[in-house]
C-alpha cells in the first residue's frame, strides 16, 4: 500500500496546487503559458527513461522505450525553446518600453 498511499496524496495535493497556481492570466500570455505547460507535460520522459533502464536486454522493450523517450524529448526541448522564442518577443518589446 505504501507507494500507492503516497502516490494518492501526491496526486491530490498536486492537482489542488495546479488548480490554484494559475489565477488571472493576461490574454497575451495564454499561448506561451499553454506552450510552457505543454513542455512540462513532457516530464513523461522520466517514465521512458525508467522503462529503458529496467528493460535489461529485452530488445523490443528497449526500442519502445527509446521511441517513447524520443517523443518526450521532442515535446520537452521543442516546447521550452518555442516558449522562449515567444516570450523573447514580448520581453524584447518590454525593455524597449
Amino acid at each position: 500500500m505504501s507507494f500507492f498511499s503516497e502516490a494518492l496524496w501526491v496526486l491530490l495535493l498536486g492537482s489542488l496546487l495546479g488548480l490554484e497556481l494559475i489565477g488571472k492570466v493576461p490574454p497575451t500570455l495564454h499561448t506561451p503559458l499553454m506552450s510552457g505547460a505543454n513542455a512540462i507535460s513532457g516530464i513523461t520522459m522520466l517514465a521512458a527513461l525508467t522503462l529503458i533502464i529496467k528493460s535489461g536486454d529485452n530488445l523490443p522493450l528497449l526500442i519502445i522505450g527509446s521511441i517513447s523517450l524520443g517523443f518526450a524529448l521532442f515535446n520537452v526541448i521543442g516546447g521550452f525553446l518555442v516558449t522562449d522564442r515567444m516570450l523573447a518577443m514580448f520581453s524584447r518589446k518590454k525593455t524597449r518600453k
Partner: protein, 479 residues
C-alpha cells in the same frame, strides 16, 4: 547506495518546487521568461535524478545507455530544429504537435509495460489492479491526446477540412460508440492485464479524432489547451505505471493548471467549454449561411486610392489588425505603410484587442515579427477613449472585435464581449475580401454606418496598393 536515495529524493522535491514556481511565473508577464527557464532546469534536474538513482542502485547497462542517448539525441534535435524553424504565426499547430508527442510518449510507456510486464511487481492483488488501471488510463488518455492533437494540427495547417458529416448529430453516436469500445477494452485489460490492449488503443485514437475533427479552426487553441491538460493526466498515469511520485505530482499539476488555463481562454473569447467541445464548428455553419443575421443595406465601398487620400489628410491614424491580417501574412506590408505615414508626421497607433486573431496574443506576436515598436501597441481599454479624436481607422481583416452589436444589441451572441469602438472615429476603412462574416458568423453593423467605407481585397494586396498610392502622392518622402 544509502546516500543516493535521499539525494534523489531531495532532487525530486526541488524539481517539483521549481516546476510549481515555473508554472506560476509563466502566468505573469514580468517573470514569464525566467519561469520558462526555471521549468526547463527543473526538468533537467529530474532527469538527472532518475539517472543518478538508477546508476547507483540497479545500475544502467551499456545497452540502455545507447538507447537512451539515441532517443534523447534524435528527439531533442528534431524538437530544437522544429522550434527554431517554425514561423511565429504557426504557434498553435506546433504546440499541438509537441503536445501530441507527449501523449504518445506516455502511451508507449504504458504499452511497453503492458506487453512486457516486469516480474518484480509484488504489491498483491490491489497493487496489480491499480497498476493495470494506470495502464488503461495512460493508454486511453495518451491515445486521445495524440490523435486529437495531430488532427488539431492538421486542421490548423489547412491539411484537413471539416467534413460535413462531422457537423451532423451522427458524430455523437460515433464518439459514444468509440468510448464504449474503449471502456470494454479497458475492463478486459484490467482483468487480465493483456487482452484488450489494442482495442483500447484503436478505439481511443478514433475517439480523439472524432471529438477534434468537428471543431472549427478558430476554437482550436482551446482544444489544444484541453489536450495539453490531458497529456498532464497521461503523464501522471505513467507515473503510477512506473512508480514515480515526481511524475505524478508534475502530471497532476500540469493537468489541473491546463484545465484552469482552458477555462480562462474560453472566458477570454466569450465561449463556454461545452459549446466549444460539442457545438461543432462555428465558422463552418456561418460560412455557409453567408452574412448571417440580417442583410446589409448601406454599404459604401471605395478604392485603395481614396483610402490613401484620406490617410494623407489625417493627423491621427489607428490600425486595427485582425485575423484576416494574419491569414494574409500582411504584417510586413503593413509595417511599410505605417513607416511611410510616420515619415509624414502622421501619428500611428495599433489597437490590440485581446482576442483578435485566432490565438491569444496573436496580434502582439504578429506585429512584433514585423518590428512594430511596442509603444505603438495599445490595449483596448487604453485606446477606446481615444477613438473620438482619431481621424482615420484602418480595420485590417478584423471583424468581430469591431462589431458595435456587442455593446448595443442584447440579443446578439456577441453581447457583452468588450469591443473596440472604432465607429467613434471620423472615418473608418475596413479592408476585407468580401462581405462574409467573421468567427462568430454575425452581421457587423459597423459596415452599414455612414462613416465606414469598405476596401475589398486580400489584406496584403490592398496594403501593397495603398503603399503605391501613398508613394505616388509623395507622402512621407521628406520633400
Amino acid at each position: 547506495m544509502t546516500f543516493i536515495a535521499p539525494i534523489k529524493f531531495a532532487i525530486d522535491l526541488l524539481a517539483v518546487l521549481l516546476l510549481a514556481l515555473g508554472i506560476k511565473g509563466l502566468s505573469k508577464v514580468r517573470s514569464a521568461r525566467e519561469a520558462n527557464r526555471l521549468a526547463a532546469i527543473a526538468m533537467m534536474l529530474a532527469a538527472f535524478g532518475v539517472l543518478l538513482n538508477s546508476q547507483g542502485t540497479i545500475g544502467i547497462s551499456i545497452n540502455s545507455w545507447i538507447w537512451i542517448i539515441c532517443g534523447t539525441l534524435i528527439g531533442g534535435l528534431l524538437g530544437a530544429l522544429t522550434a527554431k524553424r517554425v514561423p511565429m504565426t504557426a504557434m498553435p499547430e506546433i504546440v499541438a504537435l509537441f503536445n501530441g508527442c507527449g501523449g504518445m510518449s506516455s502511451l508507449l510507456v504504458a504499452l511497453g509495460v503492458a506487453l512486457f510486464p516486469s516480474s518484480e511487481s509484488s504489491d498483491g492483488i490491489v497493487g496489480e489492479l491499480i497498476r493495470n488501471f494506470s495502464i488503461v488510463v495512460s493508454l486511453f488518455v495518451g491515445a486521445i491526446t495524440f490523435s486529437g492533437s495531430i488532427v488539431a494540427m492538421a486542421k490548423l495547417q489547412g491539411w484537413l477540412s471539416t467534413p460535413s458529416w462531422t457537423q451532423s448529430k451522427a458524430r455523437h453516436f460515433f464518439n459514444i460508440f468509440c468510448a464504449v469500445l474503449a471502456s470494454i477494452g479497458g475492463i478486459y485489460l484490467l482483468i487480465d492485464g493483456k487482452n484488450g490492449l489494442f482495442l483500447i488503443l484503436i478505439a481511443s485514437s478514433l475517439l480523439g479524432v472524432g471529438v477534434t475533427l468537428p471543431i472549427g479552426g478558430a476554437d482550436m487553441p482551446v482544444v489544444i489547451s484541453l489536450l495539453n491538460s490531458y497529456s498532464g493526466v497521461a503523464a501522471a498515469a505513467a507515473g503510477f505505471v512506473v512508480g514515480s511520485q515526481l511524475l505524478i505530482v508534475a502530471g497532476a499539476m500540469v493537468g489541473a493548471a491546463g484545465l484552469i488555463l482552458t477555462q480562462v481562454m474560453c472566458d477570454g473569447m466569450n465561449r463556454s467549454l461545452v459549446s466549444v467541445l460539442f457545438g461543432g464548428a462555428l465558422g463552418a455553419s456561418s460560412a455557409s449561411s453567408g452574412g448571417g443575421g440580417g442583410e446589409y443595406t448601406n454599404i459604401t465601398s471605395c478604392s485603395p486610392e481614396e483610402c490613401a487620400l484620406s490617410l494623407e489628410a489625417a493627423e491621427r491614424v489607428v490600425i486595427v489588425p485582425g485575423y484576416g491580417l494574419a491569414v494574409a501574412q500582411a504584417q510586413h506590408t503593413l509595417r511599410e505603410v505605417t513607416r511611410v505615414l510616420e515619415n509624414a508626421d502622421i501619428e500611428v497607433t495599433y489597437a490590440i484587442h485581446p482576442v483578435a486573431g485566432r490565438m491569444p496574443g496573436h496580434m502582439n506576436v504578429l506585429l512584433a515579427e514585423a518590428d512594430v515598436p511596442y509603444e505603438q501597441l495599445k490595449e483596448m481599454d487604453i485606446i477606446n477613449p481615444e477613438f473620438p479624436a482619431t481621424d482615420v481607422v484602418l480595420v485590417l481583416g478584423a471583424n468581430d472585435v469591431v462589431n458595435p452589436q456587442a455593446k448595443t444589441d442584447q440579443s446578439s451572441p456577441l453581447y457583452g464581449m468588450p469591443v473596440l469602438d472604432v465607429q467613434e472615429a471620423r472615418t473608418v476603412f475596413v479592408v476585407k475580401r468580401g462581405m462574409s462574416a467573421g468567427y462568430s458568423g454575425i452581421k457587423n453593423d459597423l459596415f452599414d454606418l455612414p462613416n465606414t467605407s469598405m476596401v475589398f481585397g486580400d489584406a496584403k494586396k490592398v496594403l501593397g496598393d495603398l503603399l503605391l498610392e501613398l508613394k505616388e502622392l509623395g507622402v512621407g518622402s521628406k520633400g
